[in-house]
Symmetry: C2
């Protein structure tokens, strides 16, 4: 039998050693969710009840700011997406997560995650490391927004996301960088 | 024999169940460090190599901004203090941590922490939960600074820190709130 969660297990095994039994437990606790383009995975104002891993496709995290989508994060294959704050504190999400391509997400519900921690304690370590990274990324993004020029943020974006630029509409990249599409176009021409 | 780390073990046991063997392992991996008033626990620009728990006293986290101490956090007994980003990524700390009372800190070095995780795997869970809280606090502090008035921040400070106000000089409380000591004095008189 082919395990559709093999990709997830391979991803987890990059940080912690897992055996066949662990893989079985992990695969049983996750669900696969298919999303069409523009489908909302998590809506601003609702409570996040899942940890979510992108198996295929591309999703953006955004907040509505006076009716305008402000893109906060862009995620592709093998990334985790969430409003961690909403998930941890069980409060309303400050933003939405939406598929911008046909996508498949592997998700695990809060209670299932607690059960998985009991079955496979090393998943505690995996998520501790992932949450450390999220903490670091949150701080880096805040500092970047305060201290870097738009040109520097664009250069960093290209370094970090590489070919992703081809998959995401220009106006979303501009929004992610906190600039207008016109200004992004000017920066692109001059680099 | 009295275990001087009993306080730490009691603190840990509020989140995860630990037995006598676990307590022994924890106590062996931590060191106690005494600090006089004004002693620096972590200096801005150096790399954090320890997780640090305040057993006694009061410490502030601050960044130097054009020669002025900008207070970011205030910690007392049973709080953890660190530049987590520096600790996780082994890069220069963005701020300093200083004792503002005679204090005792229990600290564990990075490699010792990894050994402790192997000996007492449930410490992974403990630190996952602690790091979740740090992530949430980081986000809340950012949102608070952007959206709340000085009066609201002061009210929240009193709710959160209670009697701590008696232990911390007014100018540090003002700095923590991002206002001048004069303005804090005005707010205090009107509440």
């Amino acid at each position: 039998m082919i395990n559709q969660y093999k990709q997830l297990c391979t991803h987890i095994s990059e940080l912690v050693h897992i055996d066949n039994h662990d893989e079985k437990c992990i695969s049983e606790r996750f669900d696969a969710k298919e999303l069409r383009k523009k489908d909302i995975l998590l809506g601003q104002g609702s409570v996040s009840n899942h940890m979510m891993f992108i198996s295929k496709g591309c999703l953006i995290t955004y907040a509505l700011d006076n009716g305008v989508e402000r893109v906060l994060q862009i995620g592709i294959e093998n990334w985790w997406v969430n409003d961690l704050n909403s998930f941890f504190t069980q409060t309303a999400s400050a933003y939405s997560i939406k598929a911008i391509e046909e996508s498949i997400v592997f998700q695990i519900q809060r209670d299932e995650l607690e059960l998985l921690f009991r079955e496979v304690p090393k998943m505690e370590r995996f998520f501790r490391l992932k949450i450390q990274n999220a903490y670091t990324a949150q701080q880096a993004r805040f500092i970047s927004n305060v201290t870097e020029t738009a040109e520097e943020r664009y250069a960093n974006f290209r370094t970090k996301y590489g070919m992703l630029e081809q998959r995401v509409p220009q106006y979303m990249v501009a929004s992610y960088l906190g600039i207008t599409p016109e200004f992004l176009s000017t920066i692109r021409k001059s680099t």
